[in-house]
Each structure stands twice: as structure tokens, then as C-alpha cells.
Amino acid sequence: MQPTRIQKLFESVRKENRSALIAYVTAGDPSPERTPEIVAALERGGVDLIELGVPFSDPIADGPVIQRAAARALKAGTTVPKVLDMARAIRKTSEMPILLFTYLNPVLRYGFDKLARDAKAAGIDGCLLTDVSVEEAEPYVAAMRAAELDTVFLAAPTSTERRLNLVAQYSTGFVYLVSRTGVTGEQVALSDSLAPLIDKMRAATKLPLAAGFGISTPDQAGAVAKMADGVVVGSAIVRQIEKDPSGLESLARSLAERMKK
């Protein structure tokens, strides 16, 4: 199996002695037509990897900002096929890794094998399903492997050692560390549960570790960049899209400047 764009990215940022900046956007927010240009602005600002969120009607792991984005995207008619179209449009001009990020049911409905094939063909590099535990992951992981797509799983501050090992075993590309127990959304202070989680996960795997949930300001991103191999910013970017997408590039730049180790 060839290294995926995700794997190559973490290899190159390691050489540059910095962290990867990962941005989450809800695909189709505010409309399917706007998403490719939003992603392009983020890339110009220095984002290294895009998490393309497929909106779901009942996003139980998300706070109000991303809930609102999902509602806007669904209202604008976003579907899985349309998200694949957006990925294709992004791929026309960009080699930035794309991780599909969503809940299980839309993917289950589309079909694991079909999604894996179509996502690969659209230029997507991997997938993360928020509500799929490693225990339930077998058929999904098999389909993704067959299409040579990465499967990223979440590790949480509540995860036991046994669970961290399982998460490491099922993940490829990187492991996504949930920095605090909670839903997505900006926080005043960085959670102190992140550092111990990084230590425990390092003991379990050599895979790159990216941290997200509650990281929004350049200072917070800079602090996480010192510890993790990737920093995920979601709600702060989605809020900027809600408020004024023209500010996205400079928001990304203010975060990208802080990725140095």
C-alpha cells in the first residue's frame, strides 16, 4: 500500500519540526457551492489537512456552533454525493489531505464499500466516524482498507489503557485525541487532561497524534503544537464561516504561525 496523503503530511511536518494544522469545516455550510473556495482560503492561510464534515441531523458530539453549521448545510441540500462532488472540486487545485468526518448513519445508508470506492475516486484520503467505537468498526474498517483509505479513531481522556491500545490498533494515518470530555466548541482554557492523554497514547503507538475539541485561539493552538503532531481547530473556523468567510485566510494564518515545535 502506498503512503496516503495523510501519512506523507505527518512525515513532512516531522521533518520541518512543526505540527500539522488541521481545520474542520462542515461541508455544504453555508452552501455546497461555497465549500471548495472556503477550503482553498484555509489552505492559503496555511492549513495542512482538511476535515470535511458530512452534516448529520443529530450530531450528539457537537456543540452549538457545529450543530448550527450542520443545520445550515442540510437546509442547503447537502448529501453524501454532494460532499463527494466538493472533494472532487477541491482536488482539482489542491493536494491537501482530506479526511471525511461524520457520524455513522449517513455512511451506513450510503454503504461502506460504495463509500470507500467513491471517496477514494473523489480524492479523499481517510475517514473518521465519531460514533463508531472500535468494537463496532470491523466491517467499516475492512471496506476502508480495501480502498486504501485511512481510518482515524478517537481517543478520549476517559479511555482506559486497554481501549487506547485498541484505538491505536484500528487507526491509520493518525490518532485523534479528544482533549477534554465534552462536545466540540471553543473553551477559555486548554484542558489539562490533554498532556496525560498524549503521554499514554505515545506509549501505545508510534502513529502521529492530533488533538482537537476546545482548541480555538492561536495561543491554545501553539501550546498544543508543542505536544502533539497535529492541532485540530473546528468550531472557531466554523464560527468564522458563520460570521464572515472573508476572514478565514487570516484566521488560518494566525493559527499556522504557531505550529512550530
Partner: protein, 409 residues
């Protein structure tokens, strides 16, 4: 005839292809912990004794199995018994599970309880159990449900619970569960999620069912004593499915006993206008479990409608899906109008005003009874109708006139 049909989940909480544990990783270890605590509590005679004592002296068990003579004679067919879960403390079967889970939460050292509620019956029972044990209680409820079940909102608050309105989506039970899960994800160290139906991630469908098994166990013992035989058909309404699974479970091995679940047929069987998951739903995953889900072609959960807030939910409990696929239980639906008519019929023949949820089961019982003389029916009357007084008033305006002498109706 007793068969070998059983209905137990596997070690990871799957009822055949359904159930399981589909939640964000943050909740996985807490669910494992809950499962262990529940197993230990189930096997602990002291826990069981305390629960039994509470069910007896606080909640009012056993509930009567009442022979509805006038209803049976009016219909001129099957002999109908009514399991009076509506006579329990707080007005519905929900208290069985709430007392069990509240005891478990106390045993686990959790001081804060969260719950979702649709009709408010589970919220009221949770508020009651929390007051009893001195636990903090937060209940999530869709704003549409708060409007139509206002009385229950007040009852919860009177018992010290905080009721949090949810304005997302259809502003009903689905959205209340989503919001409760978000709270749990955030406060899992201090908080027990007291889920009120046979839904959600393992071990909830198993645990909630077990706390309600007493309904079927009592019914089985009582009907054998009274009639010397098992019933031919048992009826129960199915939202998430807790009262139905609690009633059905004692009879699953008795293949000659028909088990009939009644879903909400709403205004029509067009997607968005009902909550009949077996008529228009397909296997999907929501709120932690795989089961039949009302959803659109793109896998988004559909909106639902039922006059009964407690049945107004998109996913059916996973054990019901398994019973359905194996043909061990049959499922049908009852429209809003049919449920309202059944409620009035029961009120007028037996002097019992059922909850709108339970009225769905009463409708199917009434529908089948005339054609089955000599047969023995049991209908689970899961809740009483006081909470639905406003809805009944809206639907029977002829009884609610300011006129002190309304025309005969």
C-alpha cells in the same frame, strides 16, 4: 407450548444484528463501567431486596390485572384483561426503571442524574426517584413536548428537577435524547444518564428491560392463577419500547402467546407524519444503537409525528427489531384519531382514562376482540391519562364547552 425462543443480547450487547454500542469514545469506558456495576448490582441480593421494597411500598407493586368485563362484553369477543401500570406512583410504568437506575447511580457514587423525556412520564418518575434519594436532577425535554405536556413539566419542577427545554430539530424526544447525550459526554465523571426507554447503547436496552420485566412476570403469574392458562394475545404500545419489552419478556418462550406491539401511526403513514418504524423505517444507527430508524434516502433521521409525545420517536428499541425480524412479535400501528377514540371508549366503558400512548394499545385490543371469542387478551395500560387532559380537551371540544348543560355526546 414452550419453545426455545429466547431474547438475550450477546456479550457486546447485540440482539442479533441490532443494538450494540455506537457512541463517541468518551462514553465507551463509562458504558463499560456502567455494565459492570449493573451486573454486580443484579447479582447482589441486598440491591434486589431494596429495589423490591421500593417497588412495593413506594411505587405500589404489584399492579392489578383487571378483568375489563364491560369492555369485553360490549365488544362481544375476547376476554380482555388490563394490566394497570397506570396505577403506579407517578402514573406510569416508568417508575420501575427509575427506581432501579437511581439505586444503581447511588451505588456508583454519582450525585447528578440527567434524563430525557417525551410525554414527561419518564421525567416525572426520574424527578420523583431523585427527590427520594436526594440526587440532583436535570431533565431534557423538547419544547414542543413541554408545550403539549405542560402539567408534567410542572410536576417535575415541583419535585425539584430542572427541566431544560430543547429547541433543536423537531423539538421532541429525539432532540431531548441528543441534548442529554451531549450533557453526559461533558459531565460523565459526576453524572448518571438515566435513560428512560429500552434504547441507547449497551447495557441500556438490557438494563431498562430487566427493570421492567416485573410487568410481564406479574401478569404471567396472575393470569395463570385467575384463568389457569396463558393469554392468547398481549398488546402494548411501543415508543422506544420499554413497557412493551417489560411485558413481552415473560412470554417470549411461549410461542402460542401472540405478542403485539403498537406503534404510532400519527396523521398518515407518509414519512414525517408518523412514528411507525416498521412501516417505512430501515436499519440504521441513532443514539447509540442499531435498529429500525425512520430516515431519508441520505441517512438523516426523519421528523416524526404522533399525538402521543411518548411514542413520537424515530428509532425502535433494538430488542423489538430482533423480535420483529424473527417473527416472534408482530407490530402494527394506530393513528392519532384511532387512539383518541379508543381512549374515549375505555373511559366510557370502564371508567379508566388511559395515557395517549397506552390508548394506542387499547385501540388494537378493541379492534381484534370482536373476531376472537373465547380468546384471552391482555393489554398493558402503561400510563394514566391525566397528563393528556389538555389534548383530550382540544380533541373533544363538545365536552369542554362553557355551557353548563352540554348536549348529550
Amino acid at each position: 407450548m414452550t419453545s426455545h425462543v429466547t431474547s438475550e443480547p450477546d456479550a457486546t450487547g447485540h440482539f442479533g444484528p441490532y443494538g450494540g454500542r455506537f457512541v463517541p469514545e468518551v462514553l465507551m469506558a463509562p458504558l463499560e463501567e456502567l455494565e459492570q456495576a449493573y451486573k454486580a448490582a443484579s447479582a447482589d441480593p441486598a440491591f434486589q431486596a431494596e429495589l423490591t421494597d421500593l417497588l412495593t411500598h413506594y411505587a405500589g407493586r404489584p399492579t392489578p390485572l383487571y378483568y375489563a368485563r364491560r369492555l369485553s362484553e360490549t365488544l362481544g369477543g375476547a376476554k380482555i384483561y388490563i394490566k394497570r401500570e397506570d396505577l403506579l406512583h407517578t402514573g406510569a410504568h416508568k417508575i420501575n426503571n427509575c427506581l432501579g437506575q437511581a439505586l444503581l447511580a447511588r451505588r456508583m457514587g454519582k450525585k447528578r442524574i440527567i434524563a430525557e423525556t417525551g410525554a414527561g412520564q419518564h421525567g416525572v418518575a426520574t424527578a420523583s426517584a431523585c427527590a427520594l434519594f436526594g440526587l440532583e436532577c436535570v431533565v431534557y425535554m423538547g419544547e414542543e413536548d413541554m408545550r403539549r405536556q405542560r402539567l408534567n413539566v410542572f410536576r417535575m419542577r415541583l419535585m425539584g428537577a430542572t427541566v431544560v427545554g430543547v429547541a433543536n430539530g423537531s423539538r421532541t424526544l429525539k432532540d431531548a435524547i441528543s441534548e442529554a447525550m451531549r450533557d453526559w459526554v461533558t459531565n460523565v465523571h459526576t453524572t448518571h444518564y438515566l435513560l428512560g426507554s429500552a434504547l441507547g447503547a449497551h447495557p441500556y436496552p438490557l438494563m431498562v428491560r430487566d427493570f421492567h420485566r416485573v410487568i410481564g412476570d406479574e401478569t404471567r403469574a396472575e393470569i395463570l392463577k385467575r384463568e389457569g392458562r396463558l393469554p392468547d394475545s398481549i398488546f402494548a404500545c411501543v415508543g422506544g419500547g420499554s413497557n412493551a419489552i417489560g411485558m413481552f419478556h415473560a412470554f417470549i418462550g411461549d410461542e402460542n402467546v401472540k405478542l403485539i406491539g403498537i406503534e404510532a401511526g400519527g396523521r398518515s403513514l407518509k414519512l414525517g407524519e408518523h412514528a411507525a418504524r416498521f412501516e417505512g423505517g430501515a436499519p440504521g444507527v441513532l443514539h447509540g444503537a442499531k435498529s429500525y430508524l425512520l430516515q431519508d434516502a441520505d441517512g438523516q433521521a426523519a421528523l416524526t409525528h404522533s399525538v402521543s409525545a411518548g411514542l413520537d420517536y424515530v428509532l425502535i428499541g433494538p430488542e423489538h427489531a430482533w423480535l420483529h425480524d424473527r417473527g416472534r412479535a408482530e407490530y402494527t400501528s394506530c393513528s392519532d384519531a384511532e387512539a383518541l377514540a379508543a381512549a374515549k371508549k375505555l373511559a366510557r366503558t370502564e371508567g379508566i382514562i388511559p395515557a395517549l400512548e397506552s390508548a394506542h394499545a387499547v385501540h388494537e385490543t378493541i379492534r381484534r376482540a370482536p373476531a376472537e371469542p373465547g380468546k384471552l387478551f391482555v393489554v398493558n395500560l402503561s400510563g394514566r391519562g391525566d397528563k393528556d387532559t389538555d389534548i383530550y380537551r382540544e380533541n373533544f371540544p363538545e365536552l369542554d364547552a362553557a355551557d353548563p348543560n352540554p348536549k348529550a355526546v
